[in-house]
Symmetry: C2
Subunit: 308 residues, 2 copies
């Protein structure tokens, strides 16, 4: 059974959308990635940091879904990373209201001994130096290292970001970030430039417009499932990444053709994530529900033109 | 062989994009629809109006592609409809600089006798009363009536628009227009509301993000082919409609499954249209080129997840 190392925040989120607002609820990239990856028959471990204000029941929630949490350090008298944001009416843009780094400010991830030979490493959005330090700890080169990042690091740690991008196989990034990183408007040209920076595979996330996968001269485009309403987009990108990484770890097939399937799994899982606040929808998502929605995705995208 | 009636403008366009600008060149909805539909083995006729300032060579260009132009009325001492626009840097938005209706102001389309029993009617963007008058002339109910429209008619002739929408089978509309027409942000909900207004099938065009097809509770999403650059988006929507209508007329199969293929043909042809100014790319497009790009579309969208 393949191993997956997940590195990222485990956090408190407070979210406002046009549909309502929450108090501090469970959030964080590693949380969403872990919940998504738990749908695959793999060994997965989360590496993160929290304060002792973090409820044990939240950690149990991951353990119950077979995510190894021994790599989540708990700092005595420390406070857990807290993020608060407000979404605009279109749900595509948001303002950050509060960012309290707290224990995350001194996060030095330690990969559990058992996971140093993991086949897949999923580096959630963090300072690129922290992401790089995880790769340094691996006892052998992973079959696939996947990195998620955001515009914030392009603004304030570009050189470090470029250094870690050199070391990974797949980058997941949204359309605006791909344009910012390369100065190119065309996503086709932007993806090509990013490939020249290191990763052989580039995934560009376009929210309600789906996701694109690029490799050499090949492109795959998975649309997003049209939804009646997007209730809360928080965590959708991480859920996509968790589904993508989890599926690849399970199948242990890192070809472009199989990566298409991984994109579909990621999109499918993300389509659930946005239906409720925070992790609520993901906590009890069943494999029957996932299977049913994968069939919907097939109907949504597959056609049968006969070409000679 | 099925018959297709195409009603719409045949016009002069002057276009400015970040890549350059043109003098008055060949344009108009019926022109783009006709050039796209000419890729299918059908009988097609264009119904329109021009002034005697309109060059014979432009009409020949349609005839050479087997589009019957006897329904294009030429007004002595009249001037041809002229539109001029400037695209913004993102190529998704544009300003109209000039609209001279000229002969179009008194356009009373006359469907050629031979085409009054056509299987498919494609109503390009025009005043909804003009579109309705075409349906009145048909000697039998077409198997498929397709209507394209735009926000302008929602602003200034909404009642007339609603009346013609009641009479058609398929509407093609862009995402912002679908939202304006229904007051709904979710395209899934908007499409449902439009279906309740009459048409069983709703196609929502999202430009670089592709096109959605809705019918009852079914949805199909064809992404747009990612391109190195979009040179001039003028006519892309009409080219899509022409490919859609032409494919359905040729196959004479109006099922949802076959309509998926029609969407793919429309998207494929539209992906060529934007590569050059105006109709330039469409004038000499070969079936080999179309075939090759259809294969690209398959690779872009088709995957192979095994589901029990």
């Amino acid at each position: 059974m393949s191993k997956l190392v997940i590195v990222g925040t485990v956090a408190f989120d407070a979210i406002e959308t046009p549909f309502g607002k929450t108090d501090k609820i469970l959030g964080g990239a590693a949380t969403f990635i872990g919940l998504a990856a738990s749908h695959f028959d793999i060994n997965a471990a989360a590496v993160s940091i929290v304060g002792d204000d973090f409820p044990q029941e939240y950690l149990d929630l991951l353990s119950e879904r077979h995510i190894d949490t021994t790599g989540i350090e708990i700092i005595e008298n420390g406070k857990t990373f807290f993020w608060s944001g407000r979404y605009h009416n279109d749900m595509n843009t948001r303002d950050t209201l509060v960012t309290e780094l707290n224990t995350l400010a001194d996060f030095k991830p330690v990969v559990p001994e058992d996971y140093k030979d993991a086949e897949v490493v999923m580096l959630g959005n963090l300072h690129p130096i922290v992401q790089s330090s995880v790769l340094d700890q691996m006892s052998k080169k992973p079959k696939l290292a996947i990195l998620d990042t955001m515009n914030y690091w392009m603004d304030c740690a570009l050189d470090d970001l470029i250094n870690v991008i050199k070391r990974i196989d797949v980058i997941t990034i949204n359309d605006e970030e791909a344009r910012q990183l390369t100065g190119e408007y065309s996503l086709l040209v932007a993806a090509k430039k990013i490939q020249e920076m290191g990763p052989q595979y580039v995934v560009i996330k376009k929210g309600e417009h789906g996701a694109l996968l690029f490799h050499e001269d090949q492109v795959f485009y998975a649309p997003a499932l049209p939804l009646k309403e997007v209730f809360d987009p928080t965590g959708a990108g991480d859920t996509f990444a968790g589904g993508f990484a989890g599926y690849l770890a399970k199948t242990n097939d890192y070809s472009f053709e199989n990566m298409k399937n991984a994109v579909i799994y990621g999109s499918t899982l993300a389509s659930f994530c946005v239906e409720k606040f925070g992790t609520e929808r993901m906590q009890n998502l069943t494999s029957e529900e996932v299977h049913k929605r994968l069939l919907q995705f097939k109907q949504l995208t597959q056609f049968d033109i006969e070409l000679g």
